[in-house]
């Protein structure tokens, strides 16, 4: 016996452990939201290209677009144009779209739109970059200025990363004569970045400028310059003004290099404006609707993979164990009398279709009438089966009458009587009448009331939207329930009602 108990306990703990582990994995690793109401911002970045076509020559518009990134999930990407063909290609670490048209006239506008989410980012293979760079040819005064700047930088740094940070800081010290010479009067951020990059290349450190867009709702954003270097494993980003390391979460790398974002052949006045907007989308909806997430096996093997109609069925079905667990508790811990274990759960399911108050009224009325009809039939001395059949037929007639009355009176609730509640009611009446005969009226009434109360609790619990979402999204919770049920199977303590029942025995002791 002790061995069996230990076995059951171990099994229960394994079940609970597995359930908790799978849930934690889903939450922590797969990043699946714990609540249905959890929302995520979805960013929509529009790049609007406008230019004036010269009119009599073919047009080619080249626009840099963001390369794939492991930091974001691309939900959608579209190229919007009229009478243009387009082609997307890779150039080094960059990605660009080429719109082309044989003939275009006047003011032209092209759109590129990208929709991003920061949740469910894909684990893409990072691009590699160069680790060595030849020294560029420099004029004599510049070379000397660069060398004299580099000497203290080299002294104050330990490795490539600190070297870059130090270089950025030095260059941003505008009072330095050498810096002023290199900047040649232009103190803009882009020029300072160019100087930093040049310094680094003199020291054979490969670094490149990247243009980024900030995920901040804005109308006319200009790309921000960052520096980055490849350390053999990954790219390291530096702020070209402060020298701080690391790219903030909300920056999207648009393209790298110093080339302008747009290049138009056969047109003039090319301009690009970036606008960023955000919308809140429920995280789980995001996960469900976005094709890439589904493909990326995050949610495959989950119930969300099923067709929607089947999902709805399982949303209900997966709550049944919760109802059963509740009934188990009510019976074994509280000591409540119900008609069997599963009848209350089924009645609770029937309440889904009728709603609680109406369900209780209907349950009571129909069961009462069914039972009184049954006791009347007793006088006719019918055999068991034919008597039960008559009762069941009358239950159907009764429900039809209620539906008809409800409809005539304009109470549409009366129509909620579906096949499912009818089958359950029929079953309840049958069981109740058997109990009535076997154990008497008071026991049958006790069980009927207990069933109603348990079913009401069960219904309230099973229709909890948050709970339903949790169970459906994290089916591992069901294993936890199995564990609890296993442990309940070895519960040997008193039921609450027994404390009342045996009060005489306890009192004697106290005397």
């Amino acid at each position: 016996m002790r061995g069996v108990k230990l076995h059951a306990l171990l099994l229960a703990l394994v079940m609970i452990g597995a359930g908790v582990a799978s849930t934690v994995y889903q939450v922590a690793v797969l990043n699946i939201p714990l609540s249905e109401s959890e929302t995520d911002p979805v960013w929509v970045i529009d790049a609007r290209v406008s230019y004036r076509a010269s009119g009599n020559s073919p047009v080619k518009v080249q626009l840099f677009v963001p390369p794939p990134s492991e930091r974001f999930l691309v939900l959608n990407e579209s190229f919007i144009s009229q009478n243009y063909g387009f082609n997307v290609s890779r150039a080094g670490t960059n990605r660009q779209v080429v719109w082309s048209s044989r003939r275009a006239q006047g003011e032209q506008t092209l759109y590129y739109r990208k929709t991003l989410s920061q949740r469910f980012a894909e684990k893409a293979v990072a691009e590699t970059g160069p680790q060595f760079r030849p020294r560029p040819p420099l004029a004599e005064p510049e070379r000397i200025a660069a060398e004299s700047l580099l000497a203290p930088i080299r002294q104050h740094s330990a490795d490539v990363e600190t070297f870059i940070s130090e270089a950025v800081r030095r260059v941003n010290n505008l009072s330095d004569d050498n810096v002023r010479l290199l900047l040649a009067g232009n103190e803009s951020v882009s020029n300072r970045t160019r100087v930093v990059e040049m310094l680094l290349s003199v020291a054979h450190i490969p670094a490149e400028q990247v243009q980024t867009i900030r995920l901040l709702p804005s109308q006319n954003q200009s790309p921000e310059v960052w520096l980055r270097t490849y350390n053999g494993e990954r790219w390291i980003y530096f702020n070209p003004v402060t020298g701080d390391r690391g790219l903030p979460e909300d920056r999207v790398v648009w393209w790298s290099g110093v080339a302008p974002v747009v290049d138009v052949e056969g047109g003039q006045n090319a301009r690009v404006t970036f606008s960023v907007t955000s919308t809140e989308v429920s995280a789980i909806q995001l996960a469900q609707t976005s094709e890439p997430v589904r493909r990326s096996t995050l949610l495959s093997f989950s119930l969300y993979d099923l067709p929607v109609a089947t999902q709805e069925v399982y949303r209900t079905m997966i709550m049944i164990p919760i109802g059963v667990l509740l009934i188990l508790m009510l019976r074994n811990l509280v000591g409540m009398h119900t008609l069997g274990t599963f009848t209350p759960v089924l009645v609770a399911l029937a309440f889904r279709e009728t709603e609680v108050i109406w369900g209780i009224i209907m349950f009571t009325v129909i069961t009462a009438i069914g039972l009184s009809l049954r006791s009347y039939l007793e006088h006719l001395r019918l055999q068991l089966l034919s008597r039960l059949s008559v009762v069941l037929t009358f239950v159907v007639i009764l429900m039809a009458v209620i539906s008809l009355l409800g409809h005539k009176l304009g109470v549409e609730r009366g129509l909620a009587v579906a096949l499912f509640p009818m089958v359950i009611l029929t079953m309840v009446i049958e069981r109740l009448s058997i109990m009535w005969e076997e154990r008497g009226a008071s026991d049958a009434l006790k069980a009927a009331v207990g069933t109603l109360v348990a079913a009401t609790f069960g219904h309230l619990l099973m229709t909890q939207p948050h709970l339903s979402y949790l169970c459906f999204t994290f089916p591992g919770i069901l294993l936890v329930f199995v564990g609890i049920m296993l442990m309940m199977g070895h519960y040997r303590g008193y039921r609450l009602t027994e404390l009342v029942r045996f009060r005489a025995l306890a009192k004697k002791q106290e005397r």
Binding site: R381, L384, E438, R492, G493, Y494, E498, L499, F502, L505
Partner: protein, 326 residues
């Protein structure tokens, strides 16, 4: 509430969860249940084992056998008709007398032969059986209760319930019908339970609806202090029922007939727990004592005869305070 919990634990009071998990599930194999659920099977076994039971007059299992069945009863003037798998005493018809074509029931009602036939057909269709299965009907000797119960009983036949753990009788109770229980000896139908001292067969205090009582609610006589005659006869039958069925945790229901002495009426595989209130003692602690004793015996490789088991229980579970004889 917690204090009461602890008090009950200290007294070794057995709860339903404990009974179901530690005793019924552990000692009673499911496939043996039909032996106790079907009274005809129980009776056949008992007769073969030489255990005293009320005589079986006849049994019937199909509608067309009813007429022949009734004819075979012509020689008897009083008898009891029972469903073989009935529960809670339902469907039991006690015939005390008959004249012309009428049967008189214990309650004084007159029934015609058609009434009896209808009752039999209801019984066969499963109206009184657990779960409404088809059933058999049986007719047996009508027990006349011993006069010792005259003062503390109201109608019906009092019976004695003894809880037996693996052949060790651990607790006993006398069940007395009341007006409310309509002559039935089931506690939850309103009968009263009176504890019985295992060693002497003298009755203790009573329980009625989970309360402790001293007097029978209908006759107002004290229930305690009545000496049951032939007490060891009861104990021997009870102890022998373990070998009879193989069920380790058993409630044995016995009656005391004024002519035939103790008779075994039926067996119950999940006996109720109110016997503890009647005896003012915990079943759990008594069962634990027996289990320890059995373990010790098993370790020593010994087994005990029923009479040894009885004397072990009488030695250990004797009541400390015996009431003064009424």
């Amino acid at each position: 509430m917690l204090g009461r919990w602890l008090a009950l634990r200290r007294r070794g009071v057995m709860g339903i969860n404990e009974r179901n998990g530690d005793y019924v599930l552990r000692y009673n194999r499911r496939h043996l249940y039909p032996l106790v659920d079907d009274k005809l099977l129980t009776k056949e076994r008992a007769i073969r084992a030489g255990i005293q039971v009320p005589d079986l007059y006849a049994s019937v299992e199909s509608e067309h056998g009813i007429n022949a069945f009734l004819r075979s009863l012509d020689q008897y003037h009083d008898f009891v008709i029972k469903p073989s798998q009935g529960a809670g005493g339902d469907g039991i018809l006690v015939i005390t007398d008959r004249f012309d074509h009428f049967y008189r029931t214990a309650g004084g009602r007159l029934l015609t032969e058609d009434d009896i036939k209808h009752h039999l057909s209801n019984t066969l269709s499963g109206m009184y059986s657990l779960g409404g299965h088809r059933d058999r009907a049986m007719v047996e000797y009508r027990v006349t209760p011993d006069s010792v119960f005259g003062a503390i009983s109201y109608e019906g036949v009092p019976d004695i319930r003894i809880i037996v753990l693996c052949g060790y009788p651990v607790m006993a109770m006398l069940r007395l019908p009341t007006r409310q229980s309509q002559g039935k000896a089931n506690l939850h139908q309103g009968a009263i339970g009176v504890g019985v001292d295992l060693a002497t067969g003298i009755t203790l205090e009573g329980t009625w609806h989970n309360q402790v009582i001293q007097r029978h609610p209908d006759t107002a006589n004290r229930v305690a202090g009545v000496q049951l005659p032939d007490w060891n006869g009861f104990m021997e039958i009870a102890a022998g029922c373990y070998e009879l069925t193989g069920l380790g945790y058993l409630g044995v229901d016995l009656v005391l007939d004024k002519d035939k002495g103790p008779l075994m009426l039926e067996l119950n595989a999940r006996p109720g727990l109110n016997i503890q209130i009647a005896n003012d003692a915990g079943l759990g602690s008594r069962c634990a004592v027996v289990e320890r004793h059995m373990e010790a015996l098993a370790a020593a490789g010994e087994t005990e005869t029923p009479s040894k088991r009885i004397s072990y229980c009488q030695q250990h579970f004797a009541s400390d305070i015996l009431p003064v004889s009424a």
